[in-house]
Amino acid sequence: MNPRLAKAMVNGLLLGVAVVALLPLLWMLSVSFMTPGEASSLPPPLLPKHATWANYHELFARAGMGRYLLNSLLVSVAITALALACNLMAGYAFAKLRFAGRERLFQVLIGALVIPAQVAMLPLFLLLKYLGLVNSYAGVIVPAMATIFGIFLVRQYARTVPDELLEAARIDGAGELRIFVQIVLPLLKPIMVTLAIFTFLAAWNDFMWPLIVLTGQEHYTLPIALASLSREHVQDSELMMAGSVVTVLPVLLLFLALQRYYLQGLLLGSVKG
């Protein structure tokens, strides 16, 4: 094949796929600025005639979007901070600390990865009901405070920490906690960023469990609120698109800012086999 033709084909195809990937998102952004009812006309408009913030105003002033946004932020930040703490400590212990049954226990955890999370959801609901955590932020946060995937990720990375460094600190009389905080954590910084963005995105986007455990509107996170709004406002495409923008934009921006770390984690996590 003619090399110039081949080059045009490869780049043309890439451009085509990029348009397919981005068009729904751009369309969402555009429709969110249309006046109510504008999108439901023929031919379907691509750009708003007179761009307006009315839908966003409506969402925050009347539909309680501000509350849901804060709920989502609170829940996702709490999960990220707590899961980071638990997974870092456990991952480090599996990689660098000695104790009887270490390999065995780790294998059990890896084996448990085949169990879909949904199997646990029904009894988990009963357990949280018993603990009085149904319809509370804690009901969403507590079960997400540690993940096998996160422990695995930290363990893989923490194995590169040289043993001599830890031994030297022990000989100097440093306690285990001090070694962890002052020596190990700074070395784990890259994996911390990776794990943090992974956890935050997963928590933000999570749907099924919050849908189950949050029974009252006041605690709704954005995806739950959006799903419930979209059942009420089937015809209001402009309003719903504004709601989608509010839900998607924070994670999209976060990803753009920390892309490198996210993709790195994705590749580290995929060598499970």
């Binding site: 081949a6 490869v10 890439l14 796929v17 990029a18 397919v20 990937a21 981005l22 729904p24 998102l25 369309w27 969402m28 999108a39 006309s41 023929l42 379907p44 638990c86 400590m89 456990a90 212990a93 599996f94 600390l97 000695r98 104790f99 448990a112 085949v114 169990i115 879909p116 949904q118 199997v119 646990a120 029904l122 009894p123 609901f125 357990l127 079960p143 405070m145 540690a146 422990i151 022990r170 749907f207 849908l211 954005l222 995806p223 959006l226 799903a227 979209s230 495409s237 698109m241 709601g243 989608s244 998607v248 994670v251 999209l252 990803f255 996210y262 993709l263 590749l267 995929s270 086999g273």
Partner: protein, 292 residues
């Protein structure tokens, strides 16, 4: 040497959370599936009875369970190959030495992955609207009659599959891209000298070298696609005519709409067993294929 006590203290928070909020509930789910736990038992635990396998037995005699299973298999059987093909195709394009602006394209193609399923499912519902949707408008302009995408039982699942492919292909694309970059360039060099065409290079070098990645990615995607839930919940509510009720959707309705927690646990366990059987079979197949 650290003391074992220190190690256990480091492990304690994570193990406590995983044990109490994951492993214990999984075991409890098995027990729950052998009882008739329902709204009455929820009100007063003394109404709870042990029913052995009758939840499973009843499920196997319910039409809705079989159609949910059928719908889920349809989604997996069509969705996974389509997703993997799209991912691999995109990765090959991105890996081509002829491609320009690679970082931009990589980010653009990956963007759908980080978006919230619920939010983008809402977008697709409007894009695939029968009357005002952009998709039907575009089809109409090339002379194709409007399709009732989400309202026609024959089209609802294909639409959800298209959506899932769009949403997810970027994830595996990144993994394939790393796999492609790990293939030594001199293999292709040697093939070119021997006069092998590009398709033959793909067939005899790229695919065999990519096989471990393909197997792993295939497993994970199959397991993920079996867990179909949010898409039908937002886009179709399981309809039309229950054509998009997935196994998890059934579990959700059974458990949290009708509060038949015993029977819903049986659904969850059956799904787990089926997923396990399917992925194990696929793994065995790919291993045998490797020895041949």
């Amino acid at each position: 040497m650290n003391s074992p006590r220190a190690a256990w203290l480091f492990l304690a928070p994570a193990l406590l959370v995983l044990g109490l909020f994951f492993l214990l509930p999984v075991i409890a789910a098995l027990v729950l599936s052998l009882t008739d736990y329902d709204l009455y038992a929820l009100a007063d635990i003394r109404n709870l009875r042990f029913v052995a396998l009758s939840n499973y037995w009843e499920l196997l005699h319910r039409r809705l369970f079989w159609s949910a299973l059928g719908n889920t298999f349809y989604f997996v059987a069509v969705g996974v190959p389509l997703s993997l093909t799209a991912s691999l195709g995109a990765a090959l394009l991105l890996n081509s030495p002829l491609a320009r602006m690679k970082p931009f394209f990589r980010t653009a193609l990956f963007a759908p992955v980080v978006t919230t399923v619920v939010a983008v499912a809402v977008i697709w519902r409007y894009l695939f609207n029968t009357k005002y949707g952009l998709i039907n408008y575009a089809l109409d302009s090339v002379g194709i009659h409007p399709v009732d995408w989400l309202g026609d039982p024959h089209w609802a699942m294909p639409t959800i599959i298209l959506f899932a492919v769009w949403k997810n292909f970027g994830y595996n694309m990144i993994i394939f891209l790393a796999g492609l970059q790990a293939i030594p360039g001199d293999l292709y060099e040697a093939a070119r000298i021997d006069g092998a065409s590009v398709p033959r290079q793909f067939w005899h070098i790229t695919l065999p070298m990519l096989k471990p990645t393909l197997t792993m990615v295939g497993m994970l995607t199959v397991a993920g696609y079996f867990q179909l839930f949010a898409e039908p919940y937002v886009m179709t509510e399981g309809g039309p005519l229950q054509s998009t009720v997935s196994v998890l959707y059934l579990m959700y309705e059974e458990g949290f709409k009708w509060w038949n927690l015993g029977s819903a646990s049986a659904v969850a366990f059956l799904l787990f067993v089926i997923m396990f059987a399917v992925t194990a079979t696929l793994l065995r197949f790919s291993r045998r294929g490797g020895e041949a």
